[in-house]
């Protein structure tokens, strides 16, 4: 079969495109090299819906930000994605930074932001009492907010799949060829490059000795390679979007992978900030952000470090120390010891400096080099993509039977007076599995029955919210693993923590031997 459209990359941009495309009579495929949606920068970012004052007017980023922001909030409402309009402040710590705030305000007005206002330091501290006394002034951005970024991507993809889009995880694009009227994508199964589950392993085998029998070749050749055919390709490959572009068109931009590291703070630190707090951008860089999350934790970061390996999401002592120092300048009560997790994401910055949006070849559309504010812009980027497809005559017919919308039951959100009846009717919602975040077995099982079921412990985490809290899955991890195995009929030993190959368990323990 030949797909009409293949979207390469199921990050937030690819998912947004699939969501809108699913409304049309098209055979669409959503290709992803990882085992789930939103596995790259879409899940490791500051989780902010940006206000739109930051991009330089005239850029794609500036044109799409405000539209994207408004669409984000609308979609979150429609798809029951957690988000909150917190507003944000850009804080100036010295008087000369106050000049920068004026420039940002002008940019914001040019970009269509509403309600921007510069307030003095005292007024800002009155609203955010944990901020440093050095705040001279602040730009208030009332329309911005925070979002659950992976749920946002997932929700859009779920609706797409419900309406016929084929989601193809573990599919790494190796090469692309044009065959007159369609593209042929040579794709490898990402899982093939990982060691198969070794059922016969000797528990006694000394480390380093041969595991199992026979040599298992890893992919290199054509093993496991499949052909996917599609008339139209959309490149939403994030940090690899230049690689995909170069398979089809002459190089025109290059990704400059830029890592950002973060602290996630436990909510028991109390209400440190109510709104998102940005440092004032300066010659020294953008500075770190101090941001509440939709789960009432706090994100602190990121730094920006250009790296070679695009998959290198390791955190480093130097960057974490640097972030801590900068964060203390903004919020003196910040204490790195209240951290419950550190993580890093790799931004798809590029030599172009802006998003790369446009046709690069016949029936080949780049939605490439999407960096901040890419999460916010994603629905607007998708809208822009659809405009281009429409111009090319691909969007003639809307699906009559398209089914939108999405509802998620979250135990914590069930009104007090309805809980008893709900648990009586749905007993699994009475069994708390993640005790830090009060997530019930009902929510986990429901997440496994949706359009794109989770395959890993972190897949459940991104859907149901288990393991997000202070014990980081120490308590619920084994239980979630058991539920995944039970619900999907899989061997517990095959279940992964996160991506392909990240298996949690290695073998069974010794067995008792009955002597005759």
């Amino acid at each position: 079969m030949i797909f009409d459209v293949a979207i390469i990359g199921a990050g937030v941009v690819g998912c947004a495109v699939s969501y809108y495309l699913s409304q049309y009579e098209l055979k669409t495929a959503l290709l992803e090299r990882e085992n789930d949606v939103a596995m790259g920068a879409s899940r490791a970012n500051t989780a902010i819906i940006h206000g739109g004052y930051d991009p330089v007017p005239g850029t794609w980023m500036a044109r799409l930000n405000v539209e994207g922001m408004r669409r984000c909030f609308e979609l979150c409402e429609e798809l029951d994605v957690e988000c909150r309009k917190t507003g944000s402040y850009v804080i100036a710590l010295e008087d000369e930074q106050t000049e920068t705030l004026k420039i940002l305000l002008e940019q914001g007005v040019a970009n269509g932001c509403e309600g921007l206002e510069i307030i003095d330091g005292d007024a800002c501290r009155a609203r955010e009492p944990h901020l440093t006394e050095d705040v001279a002034a602040a730009l208030w951005v009332p329309e911005s907010g925070v979002i659950n970024p992976w749920e946002f991507a997932l929700a859009m993809a779920e609706v797409a799949v419900r309406n016929g889009v084929s989601f193809m995880p573990n599919t790494r694009v190796c090469d692309i060829a044009w065959e007159g009227d369609h593209y042929v994508i040579g794709a490898a199964d990402t899982r093939e490059s990982f060691e198969p589950l070794d059922r016969d392993a000797e528990p006694y085998a000394a480390a380093g000795s041969a595991r199992g029998t026979g040599e298992q070749p890893t992919t290199g050749g054509e093993r496991g390679k499949t052909m996917i055919r599609a008339r139209y390709l959309i490149n939403a490959a994030g940090v690899e979007s230049d690689t995909i572009h170069n398979m089809v068109a002459p190089p025109s931009f290059e990704i400059v992978p830029t890592r950002g590291e973060y602290y996630l703070l436990d909510r028991t630190v109390g209400p440190l900030v109510k709104s998102v707090i940005f440092a004032c951008p300066s010659a020294a860089g953008k500075g770190v952000t101090f941001s509440p999350t939709i789960h009432d934790n706090f994100l602190v970061g990121p730094n920006a470090e250009v790296i070679d390996d695009r998959d290198d999401t390791a955190v480093t002592r130097a960057a974490l120390d640097d972030i801590a120092r900068k964060a203390c300048r903004m919020v003196p009560d910040f204490n790195p010891r209240t951290s419950i997790r550190n993580f890093a994401g790799v931004r798809a910055n590029s030599t172009c400096g802006d998003f790369v949006i446009g046709k690069a070849a016949e029936n080949f559309l780049d939605l490439a080099a999407i960096k901040s504010p890419g999460l916010t812009c994603a629905p607007a980027i998708a809208r822009a993509a659809l405009d281009i497809l429409r111009e090319d005559g691909w969007l003639s017919e809307r699906k009559a039977d398209w089914r939108g919308g999405r509802r998620v039951v979250r135990f914590k959100e069930i009104p007090e007076e309805e809980r008893a009846a709900f648990v009586r009717d749905h007993p699994l919602y009475g069994r708390v599995i993640c005790r830090c975040e009060t997530i019930t077995e009902g929510e986990i099982v429901a997440s496994m029955k949706r359009e794109i079921p989770p395959v890993s412990i972190d897949g459940v985490k991104r859907r149901a919210g288990t393991g997000m809290g202070r014990c980081q899955g120490g308590f619920c991890g084994p239980r979630v693993l058991g539920i995944i195995a039970r619900e999907s009929g899989r061997d517990p030993l095959s279940i992964e923590e996160d991506g392909a190959g990240s298996r949690v368990l290695v073998s069974e323990t010794k067995k008792a031997v009955r002597r005759e």
């Binding site: 996630l264 002592r317 951290s339 997790r341 648990v423 009586r424």
Partner: protein, 444 residues
């Protein structure tokens, strides 16, 4: 199940089991134990090694055996037990306290009670809390999580293992993983001394030739999908890694045993005063917290080294909870009469009180407050020292006028081993001022 109990015990581990037993013995008829797991016993169920019970039962038991004894003691006592259930919220009240409970079987319900015993235990510190640089590959477990996989689920978590932190669970898991056929390459401890029991260092590391590197830490974890390699470095006195001391270990598993934190989210939300030194509630001599009728015992109060002491402590908390409930019902009967506010028969809230103040040599004390009038004969004070002492020292209690109230000799002390001393009522009556300072001093 009833809608109202005299006492609700939150947690069915050793602390909760001990408290419920002694409260029943103390005269309460309506007691409920709420346990989140499917069976009673708490973390003891996964501690299949021996070494439990030497103090309390006078014989050496495994964890499940110890739990079994505590559970068997409850048989036939008419104590209600709700397993596979979670206490979501405690709402303290003047007349009675209310709890929101949820379970698949019993549903979502509001239950009231006169007294509560907090016995929720503790949880493990995680990687995020100590910020180990590197990737977020699979194969990084807290020691207790690994212990659950191995001992309860029957699954191995790795084949080549390094252990960060020398807490007791990490030491126990070093031996356990070795016995299961894994290779444990090293145990790495940031501090210049171990936080674990000496007997565990001997029996779990030395007996298996597993090296213990003090003043070392893991400075990098590598591996995209599963851990592949870690870097270990020596640290200076400020815990900063020293360049040039790097050691590399090719491992697929990192076990973390970097501390335990009392699990007090429920207590905090209820408004119970928390001691930052223990991360547990501030308690009086009878383990009553800052909220009348709410008691605490076991690892939710402070992290114990031996379960035997948990049982001791929980029994006094249970007894005190029973006395509290019965005293209230007596007071109801005699309401309107003059009461004696000074002796044990009166309301202990009215009695005079002093605080125990640890100086810089002592990590914490439990209890933190003592009302001499409420002490029958003696009060046990538990504490940990902040640094190891290999030569004899004395523990000195001084009152507000710097007078020595009591002192106790110890041949050696270590932070990993919880210490306790017994203060007699007669000594307490002589305390002047509102506090007693506790310190480690040279023997004069």
């Amino acid at each position: 199940m009833r809608d109202h109990y005299q006492l609700i015990v939150i947690g069915g581990g050793p602390a909760g089991l001990g408290a419920a037993f002694s409260a029943r013995r103390g005269g309460l008829d309506h007691i409920l134990i709420v346990e989140r797991d499917v069976e009673l016993g708490g973390i003891l169920n996964q501690c299949i090694h021996n070494g439990f019970g030497l103090h309390y039962f006078g014989e050496e038991l495994t964890g499940p055996e110890y739990a079994g004894r505590l559970i068997d003691r409850l048989a036939g006592l008419g104590i209600d037990i709700l397993c596979d259930a979670m206490a979501l919220e405690i709402m303290p009240g003047e007349q009675e306290h209310s709890l929101r409970l949820v379970s698949a079987d019993a549903g979502y319900r509001l239950v009231t009670c006169e007294a509560v015993v907090l016995a929720m235990g503790c949880r493990e510190r995680t990687r995020g809390a100590i910020q180990i640089p590197g990737t977020r590959a699979a194969g990084i477990f807290t020691a207790g999580t690994a212990q659950r996989y191995v001992n309860i689920e029957g699954c191995m978590v790795g084949r080549r293992v390094i252990i960060l932190g020398s807490g007791d669970i990490g030491l126990i898991m070093a031996r356990r993983m070795t016995l299961e056929g894994a290779e444990v390459l090293a145990c790495v401890e940031l501090l210049p001394y171990s936080g674990g029991l000496t007997r565990n260092i001997v029996q779990c590391l030395q007996d298996f030739n597993i090296p213990l590197f003090l003043s070392h830490t893991i400075t990098k974890i590598e591996g995209k999908d599963r851990v592949k390699r870690v870097t270990v470095q020596q640290v200076d006195e400020n815990f900063r890694p020293i360049d040039g001391t790097e050691m590399y270990y090719d491992v697929d598993t990192v076990l973390l045993s970097v501390g335990l934190i009392p699990e007090n989210e429920l207590s905090r939300a209820a408004g119970v005063e928390i001691d930052p030194k223990t991360s547990g509630p501030v308690v009086y001599e009878n383990r009553e917290t800052s909220i009348p009728g709410i008691f605490a015992c076991g690892n939710v109060l402070h992290v114990h080294d031996l379960v035997d002491f948990v049982t001791e402590e929980s029994e006094s908390a249970g007894e005190a909870a029973a006395a509290y409930v019965l005293r209230r019902s007596d007071t109801d009967k005699v309401r309107g009469r003059d009461e004696d506010h000074t002796g044990k028969s009166g309301d202990p809230r009215q009695a005079s009180c002093f605080s125990l103040v640890p100086d810089q040599t002592i990590a914490y004390t439990v209890p933190q407050r003592i009302r001499p009038a409420c002490v029958d004969n003696v009060v046990r004070v538990y504490f940990r020292v902040k640094a190891p002492y290999k030569t004899p020292k004395q523990i000195v209690f001084r009152d507000g006028e710097r007078r020595i109230v009591a002192s106790f000799r110890r041949p050696y002390m270590a932070p990993g081993e919880m210490e306790h001393v017994v203060l007699k009522r007669a000594l307490l009556d002589g305390v002047r001022g509102d506090h007693l300072t506790v310190s480690v001093e040279e023997i004069s």
